[in-house]
Every structure is written in C-alpha cells, then in structure tokens.
Subunit: 337 residues, 2 copies
C-alpha cells in the first residue's frame, strides 16, 4: 500500500448536466489524502459502482435525495479497503463498502460503512453485481411489488442490465414465462442462451409491439420497468387483467430535456384494472438479509448468474456512466478505481 | 300511455367515430315497437344516461367490452316503465333500470333489469345522479382504491362532473382537504360554494401547475383522475410519498386520434413510491348495497348533493354526448327520452 500514489483524485460536480453527462460537467481535482481524526477511518477505494439513478442526483429536479451540490465530490457507492483506522470497529486492511464517492480516498466515521465478509469463493465485484443493491432491488421489486405467480408472463426491460438480468432469472425461479427487452442481438442472446429467459426482443428492431405480442401469447401479467417511454407503452398495450407494473427506473427519460411522446395505452390500466407502482430499494434496506439469503442460495445452486462490466480507472467515470444510457453496457457497470 | 307514439325511434351506430362523435356516426331509425314474447317485458324508456365511457364502446380499440357492432342499437343505461309484461317478476307500470339502449322502447327478458324502489322523496333522476353507477363509482374508486385518510389532500379532476362532484364530497365526509379541477369559473364556484370543496382550479386558466401547488401546500396524497393528459401530469408533479392515483377515466384522451404529449412527471411514481391504479365499477357491482347505504345516509344528512343536466329528446343524444368532452356539462348528463 505504500506504493499507492498519495494524491487523492476526486471528481467534483462542476455543472448540472443537460441531456447526457459530459466530461466537463465534472472536474477531476488532485487533492491531499486526508488524515483520519479520532473515530474516523481512511478508506482507499477499489471499485466504484455506476448506476442509472446517479443521473437524477445531479439534475436539479428534486428526487428522493436533494441534488448533489455543485462543487461537491460526486456521490457513489464504493468497495474499498481501510488504510488507516482510528475507529475500533474497522481494523486496517478490512474490506468495506459504503457511500464513499468518486475519489481515490475517503474518510468515514463508520456510519453507513459495512465490512464485507471474508469469503474466498465470492469475488469483491459480486457485492456490486449480485449481493448488493442491484440484487436487493431486483428481489424486492419483483417479489414484493410485482408479486409474480407460477405460470404468469413476466416482461423485463433493460433485461441485460444489472437489475434486469437478475429480475428475469428470479422470475424463472418463480416459474414465470420470462421475456426480456434489450438493446442488441448480443444482449438478447446472452439473456436467452445463458440466463434462461424464454424470449428476448431487441427494441432497436422494427415492430417492437408486434414482436412483444408474439413473445407474450397470453399477455403480460407482471412488467418490470427500467426504461420507460415507448417500451413501457408497448407493454401497457398487452397487459392482462390485474397486471402489475413495477416502476424501478426510466433510463430512457433521465437525459431528456423535454417530455416524451405520450403513453398511448395508459388507459389500459383502467380497462385491465391494473396497477403501476414505483419503488425504491432504500425502503427495503432493513430486509436486506432476507434477499441475500435467497440470492446466495440461488447463486450456489447455479440458478442465478451475473455479469460485470469493469471500466479501468477513476478518470474514466464521467465517460463510463453514459454506457448505462447509450446501450453499450451489459451487466453491472463498475469502475476499477 | 295510449297517447304515446307507437313508433320506436332507435339510434343505431352507423360508423366508428374519429375524434369527437358526429351526428352522422349514428342513424336514427323509426322502427316498429316490438311485442314481448313469453318471459319478456316491453319497457318504454324515460331517461337515458350519457357517460364518458360510451366513447370507448364505439371505438374499435378493445376495452372491457367488445366494440358496439356497426348497425347495432347504441348501448346505454336507461330508466323506464314496463308497458307490457309477460314476465312474472315485472308487473306493468313498474319503474325499472337496465342496459336498454338509445331507443324509445326496449325488450328485456328480465336479465340485468332492476325494479326501482317506490320512494316519493327520491326523484327518478336521482338513480342516475347519485344512487346509480356514478355514486358507486365515486364511492369505491375513492374509498377502495384511493383509501383517503383524515387530514390528507385529495385532488379530483372533472370535479363538476357526475362522478367528480361526488368524489370530492365523499372526500370531505372522510376529513380530507379537497381540491377540485374543473373547466370553468362557474363550475369552480359550484363545487366550492355549494359542495364544500376547499379549493377549485379552472384548468383553462394559465399556470395550472403553479395554482395546484398553491392549493395543495402539503402536496397530494390521493388523486382521483377522470381526465388524463396534462392535468394528470400536474398532479404527478405534486404527489406525496405513498400517494395513490385512482384512474377512473381519461376523458381528455377518448377523442384523441394520436398520442398526447407525454407525462413528464411519471417518474414521480418512483421517487415517491406511489401507485397508479385503474378500476372499473363493474368489479364492485356485488357490493352495490354497501355503497348505497352510505350514499343514502349522507344524502339524507345533507352532506351529499348532486346535479343533473337534462337534455330533452332522444333525437339529441349524439349531439348531447359531446357535452361530456367539450366542458359544457355540469353534473350528471341525462337525456329525457
């Protein structure tokens, strides 16, 4: 660890992005590595999780968090190692995860910081790809809000993404017919051939509604939405009586500067007495263990796979995050700091 | 009754309307008054209920009913009197209500036909304006789907309409702050001054979102939607955590030939973990008495008022139905046959 550069590179928010994030919306500063005070620990970040919801944190539209202030180090969840500890709860060398930001080094007073278990069989990145927020999001969003029943048809959007790929596999475990919508033929192959989805649709091809109809001959009972816009509308056109639409995200809209074309089939919610419900994983953090128990079991049984997309270098973070929106990302997007 | 013309005027669907209904979409035929067979009754219609959902019945988009076939007598609920009976359950002279269509006379085998109670204190039109489907719709939509709590803020659209005006009053009975959105200053005065709404907004004025924000200083907990489109979007912008949006109708969209501008604030459902749920009164018909008991009690206590808008003459029906969509209707729209 002594060979590590003792400069702390920190990405600070420089401007509120309009549309897609530009590198100039952030400023990379080289600052001094801080020294922990009594009760604090200094963590060296190893991995930074990049998530679609980050786009909302930097806009000035109020969300579940206040916006990241201009000038502040960009927020983000990381996995790191305790380099210097003045807090009895975290020994030096401990691997931890926390909300530690886009930077090489972070100070923490231990609040919200969590030591990761020692388990040689589980690589660190699995705590981002499966046994972290994405897994908990997929688990509770599908099971608690979507409530799929055996034999029902489940449609998942951004199905080759970190959350979507897990949602579809959990749907299979629960006995659903699972149809994924993704942005390339390669992604479609991955989710059907390797993850066991029953069908996949590349939304960049023509006649998406027609193809979705063919893939869902008995209509849609549960729709897990990560994208929004046109794709959501196609699903609305095909929902069954008492369908449940889980709104987890709307990545197609986060970079919009004006409203989309409308949801032509929103009235289906009335005709089909259906429900569209938004949720945030933050509301389920106290039930994390419940999800992890099942996720670990299913993973051990070979029923649940994940994939990570690792970008090398903290300096790549602002460019890399757009992979979540331009369709070039598969699985969980992570920056190796 | 012998003086009644013995011609049966019947409005038959002539074409699928595009946009607003045109008179030429229907054809008024003069046909023979039919003679009931064994088990049937002949009903002379007195009143015909005109409802926004009728617009969906004549389109070719599938809804909860198959479309009215071209050439068929237009469907509708009426109140009438039994003129000739060959069915023991309905004596001649009995006042009944049923799904008897846009015509002077209808035959029925008694299925779905309901005798109205003799009660001199209740005028016949009250069975359309309050103690009928509109009352049951307002009651279960608000209480079962919206689940308002004392002290919460309830917003109702088409608030001077048949359903909306009842929803707001039931909201007041349940202890909510009630804000109505309607299409004229006259309507706004009616719902605040006579029906006791806390505030009303004329959506035809400017800055609807700003004014809705002022009228809902603590945000929106329950939104009862009859209109859809821009107004729904304004409400989405102001919903509170765990808000419930009741989708009862979307009259602003029924005559659209292309999608509306999108719901810019649909993402609020995620941020606020809110729920948007469609419902149809048809699912509650077996609980009708539960609603009627409360509606009659509240009406007797002077807490629940209704208004009817009576158009004279069956020949006016196709023109009159557009009053539901052009904003000129207040209260329950009824044709006096």
């Amino acid at each position: 660890m002594e060979t590590t550069s003792k400069v702390n590179r920190r990405w600070r928010l420089a401007a509120r992005p309009v549309g897609l994030i530009k590198e100039s919306d952030f400023a990379l500063r080289e600052e001094q590595v801080p020294t922990p005070k009594e009760g604090q620990v200094l963590i060296r970040n190893l991995y930074l999780s990049l998530d679609p919801t980050m786009r909302s944190w930097v806009s000035d539209v109020p969300t579940y968090f206040p916006p990241v202030p201009i000038g502040e180090v960009m927020w983000g969840t990381t996995i790191g190692v305790v380099e210097h500890s003045r807090n009895d709860q975290f020994r030096e060398g401990t691997t931890v995860t926390g909300f530690l930001g886009w930077q090489d080094y972070a100070l923490s007073n231990g609040e919200g910081l969590q030591a990761l278990p020692h388990n040689a069989a589980i690589p660190l990145i699995a705590y981002f790809g499966l046994f972290g927020l994405v897994g908990i999001t997929a688990y509770f969003g599908l099971l608690d809000i979507g409530r799929p029943q055996t034999g029902e048809t489940l449609v998942v959007t951004a199905a080759a993404g970190a959350v979507g790929s897990l949602v579809g596999q959990i749907g299979k475990i629960k006995g659903c017919r699972v149809v994924g919508i993704a942005g390339s033929d390669e992604k479609c192959c991955w989710i059907t051939d390797e993850l066991g989805f029953d069908a996949a649709i590349n939304y960049r091809t023509k006649h998406v509604l027609e193809r979705l109809k063919q893939a869902c001959p008995h209509g849609i009972d549960v729709h897990y939405e990560n994208v929004g816009g046109r794709i959501l509308d196609a699903a609305l056109a095909l929902i069954n009586l008492r369908a449940r639409i889980v709104l987890c995200g709307m990545i197609s809209l986060y970079n919009n500067t004006r409203p989309e074309a409308g949801l032509y089939f929103l009235g289906s919610l009335i005709v089909k007495r259906a429900r569209m419900e938004g949720f945030l994983v933050l509301d389920y953090l106290d039930r994390t263990q419940e999800a992890l128990d099942d996720l670990m079991k299913w993973h051990a049984e070979g029923k649940l796979r994940y994939r990570v997309d690792v970008v090398e270098g903290l300096e790549q973070a602002p460019r890399a995050i757009n992979k979540l929106f331009d369709g070039t990302n598969m699985g969980k997007l992570i920056v190796k700091v």
